[in-house]
């Protein structure tokens, strides 16, 4: 099985099977555009936006799902559910917040839908059932609403969401 070399931002090279990395639409498109589909010995594909650690995890994920069939088109609502993540998928993104968001960025850059969905749902689960203050604390955000009036207006507008 032909392999391909991927070079991270730290110039670390990872040699991976082509079929594995083709889960990344970006790499796949690149290979197709460069005519590197079947040839073995090629220059490493530079991935300047992905560091070695994240690239390693991406490769791990792609390796784990190498044989997965393409996901069927599901109901939109069902697709929006965040509690239907498989165990492995749930355990995989259980990393620190920095690594998690780096994975999101890497998945977005490499255009790996499955990985992006999993990581985004993980973040969504972190936001669910949280108050604005808790969200501030979790994600180190700053409340830039000036004055109490503005926030009160927003809260009032969404007050019904909290009514029982």
């Amino acid at each position: 099985m032909p392999s391909i070399k991927l070079q991270s931002s730290g110039e670390e090279i990872f040699e991976v099977d082509v079929e594995i990395v083709k889960q990344s639409v970006t790499i796949k498109t690149m290979l197709e555009d460069l005519g590197m589909n079947d040839k073995g010995d090629h220059d490493p594909v530079p991935l300047p936006n992905v560091n070695a650690a994240i690239l390693k995890k991406v490769i791990q994920w792609c390796t784990h799902h190498e044989d997965d069939p393409p996901p069927p088109k599901v109901d939109e609502n069902k697709e929006k559910q965040t509690d239907n993540i498989p165990v492995w998928y749930r355990e995989f993104p259980k990393v620190d917040q920095g690594t998690l968001f780096e994975l999101i960025l890497a998945a977005n850059y490499l255009d790996i839908k499955g990985l992006l969905d999993v990581t985004c749902k993980t973040v969504a689960n972190m936001v669910k059932r949280k108050t604005p203050e808790e969200i501030h604390k979790i994600f180190n955000l700053k409340n830039d609403f000036t004055g109490l009036g503005r926030e009160a207006q927003v809260r009032q507008e969404n007050q019904r969401c909290e009514e029982k």
Binding site: Q81, I104, L116, D117, K121, A124, V127, P132, R160
Partner: protein
């Protein structure tokens, strides 16, 4: 003289010298001979003054008013020879060890120039005995000191031979007598000086260790007490070289950190001009004017204390006890002397004139003794005191307030007229001066920050930035955020909208719908309002009512058809509530209640 009326003298020097005289003041006598001890030349008065004996009382001016109060002891009895004793007196009895030491020192330090005027005090021969000394004193061959009016003095008053080369030694008693006599005469005839010269009564004599207190007094070689000078000089040499500000030899008066042997601050003494001789003496003792003390009673008011803090208080108090004030006056009075560099912490720039005493004397008599480095460090060490003061910025003292105990040198500005402490701006780099100058209320905390280097602050800032959690959510692209938000229910979206403007803008801009939103997405009904609350869906609107489902109700075949909001019949309900909303729409035709529901919904 009532000894009890005198304030206790506290000496820094463990070797006081001088005598304590209890004699009554002697009437002024024009025939006062300056020299208590006969000069070799038969009592010829030297140019500078007749008295050559260090114990010879100063030649008192005859014009000293007789109303002068009782004589007072004066360490600086500027005799005719201009020599004065320190105004620290002890009752020295013949053979007293202290006296011996003092005399010894005086003798040793006198030098050749003192030989002529030195009044050898006692004979120090090892085989000397009291009797021997007394015999010498009573030696008729020796001309007894006759300052003119010593009738009452015992024969033991025989003063030391004041001959230049005469090394006759006087007995202790003679010395005592001489001193007492001089003191009395000086008190009686102490003139009213015209110039507010500081009264310094230990002046250097002719090449002697002239740098005693008031060395400037030795104008024309004003002779002062050899003993005092000798001791002072000896101690100065013994202790340390004159430190900064401690130029005892050069200071006109007790300058900052100047070493003295004894100190007593008294006001009301008329400073004598350097050239003015004693009022009573024919030649006077230029430079070493014996202060016309108002007397023991008045002297009782003089401040005598070991509390240098108090004495050197920079307070603007014009009380005589304020040595600064007095010193300042002394400095003003001193003419040819280098102006005493204002002690950074102490000397006020322009103290008011001291109150006149009964005798009308002005000026003061200063015998301030600050011995050793310790005192200097405490009182005059500029760096130390500065730093100390600056470290205690929190103290605020108004110029009018006396410094708190023990905090004299920890105080900041004492006001515009405060002592010439170096203003904070002038303070060394160790202290944030400007802020100190500004704020007596400046806090040490602020000072602490100022002490931190810029590099430290910069590095600390960088470290803090590195340690701070990053705002990853804000680093994500917008479409990624929309994707994340699309996984959220209505409440989570409502909370996110209240988190920051960025999230709110994304939700509204992209029309993020909550996962549990019931708004119909059919483009056909996009603009249809809710039948219940009449609200129309807006992008990013996560209000409860707004995402009501809009079922379509129609009464077939000919009934009304409309989109409905919910089954709730209460018209006043602001909208279906989350969790209570019944989304199981039943078409009217689907159940027994369907028709009724349809009717209810139609309301």
């Amino acid at each position: 003289m009532d000894r009890g009326s005198l304030l206790p003298f506290q000496l820094w020097c463990p070797r006081p010298f001088g005598t304590y005289s209890q004699n009554q003041p002697r009437p002024p006598s024009a025939a006062l001979k300056p020299s208590a001890c006969p000069e070799p030349g038969g009592g010829a008065e030297p140019d500078h003054g007749p008295a050559h004996s260090e114990n010879t009382p100063p030649a008192l001016a005859t014009e000293v008013p007789a109303s002068q109060p009782a004589p007072l002891l004066s360490a600086a009895a500027a005799g005719d020879e201009g020599r004065v004793l320190l105004d620290t007196w002890y009752v020295i009895k013949p053979g007293n060890t202290k006296e011996k030491v003092a005399f010894f020192v005086a003798h040793q330090c006198g030098g050749g120039s003192r030989a002529s005027s030195m009044k050898v005090k006692g004979h120090w021969g090892s085989d000397s005995s009291k009797a021997k000394r007394r015999r010498r004193c009573l030696d008729p061959t020796k001309a007894p000191p006759d300052p003119g009016g010593r009738e009452g003095l015992p024969a033991t008053e025989e003063g030391p031979t004041s001959a230049g080369e005469d090394v006759d030694l006087l007995s202790v008693a003679e010395m005592v007598a001489l001193v007492e006599q001089r003191a009395a005469l000086a008190l009686q005839s102490y003139p009213r000086p015209t110039t507010p010269a500081p009264v310094v009564f230990v002046s250097a004599e002719q090449g002697g260790p002239a740098k005693g207190v008031g060395s400037e007094r030795r104008s024309g070689g004003g002779d002062c007490s050899r003993v005092a000078e000798a001791v002072a000089h000896f101690e100065a040499q013994r202790d340390s070289p004159p430190t900064k500000g401690l130029r005892k030899e050069e200071r006109p008066g007790p300058g900052p950190g100047e070493v003295r042997i004894a100190f007593r601050i008294s006001n009301g003494r008329e400073p004598r001009a350097p050239d003015s001789g004693l009022p009573s003496g024919g030649g006077g003792r230029p430079g070493c004017a014996y202060p016309g003390s108002p007397g023991p009673g008045a002297r009782a008011k003089d401040k005598i204390t070991c509390d240098l803090y108090q004495l050197i208080s920079p307070s603007r108090d014009a009380l005589p006890s304020n040595v600064e004030f007095l010193l300042a006056r002394a400095d003003e009075a001193s003419e040819g002397d280098s102006p005493a560099p204002a002690r950074p912490e102490d000397t006020p720039p322009a103290p008011p004139p001291p109150p006149a005493r009964d005798c009308g004397a002005s000026g003061f008599h200063v015998d301030v003794v600050v011995t050793g480095v310790v005192d200097e460090c405490i009182f005059f060490g500029k760096d130390g005191t500065k730093n100390v003061k600056e470290e205690t910025v929190c103290l605020t003292v108004s110029p009018e307030e006396p410094p708190p105990p023990g905090q004299l040198f920890f105080l900041q500005n004492r006001g515009p007229d405060g002592p010439p402490e170096p203003p904070p701006a002038d303070s060394p780099a160790t202290a944030p001066g400007p802020d100190d100058a500004e704020g007596t209320a400046d806090t040490s905390l602020c000072r602490l920050y100022r002490h931190v280097s810029h590099d430290f602050l910069e590095i600390r800032f960088k470290i803090q930035r590195l340690l701070e959690p990053r705002q990853y959510m804000l680093l994500l692209p917008e479409h990624v955020l929309v994707k994340i938000f699309s996984f959220l229910p209505t409440r989570a979206l409502a909370a996110l909208k209240c988190t920051c403007h960025h999230f709110k803008g994304i939700i509204e801009a992209f029309g993020v719908r909550a996962t549990d939103s019931r708004w119909s997405r059919d483009p056909l009904y996009r603009d249809d309002p809710c039948k219940q609350c009449r609200k129309r869906y807006e992008k990013g609107d996560v209000s409860l009512c707004r995402w009501h489902p809009k079922p379509y109700h129609h009464d077939l075949p000919y009934g009304r058809s409309y989109w409905m909001c919910c089954r709730r019949a209460d018209r006043e309900t602001p909208g279906c509530r989350l969790g209570l909303h019944d989304n199981n729409w039943v078409l009217p035709c689907n159940g027994p209640g369907g028709g009724r529901a349809g009717r209810e919904e139609g309301r």
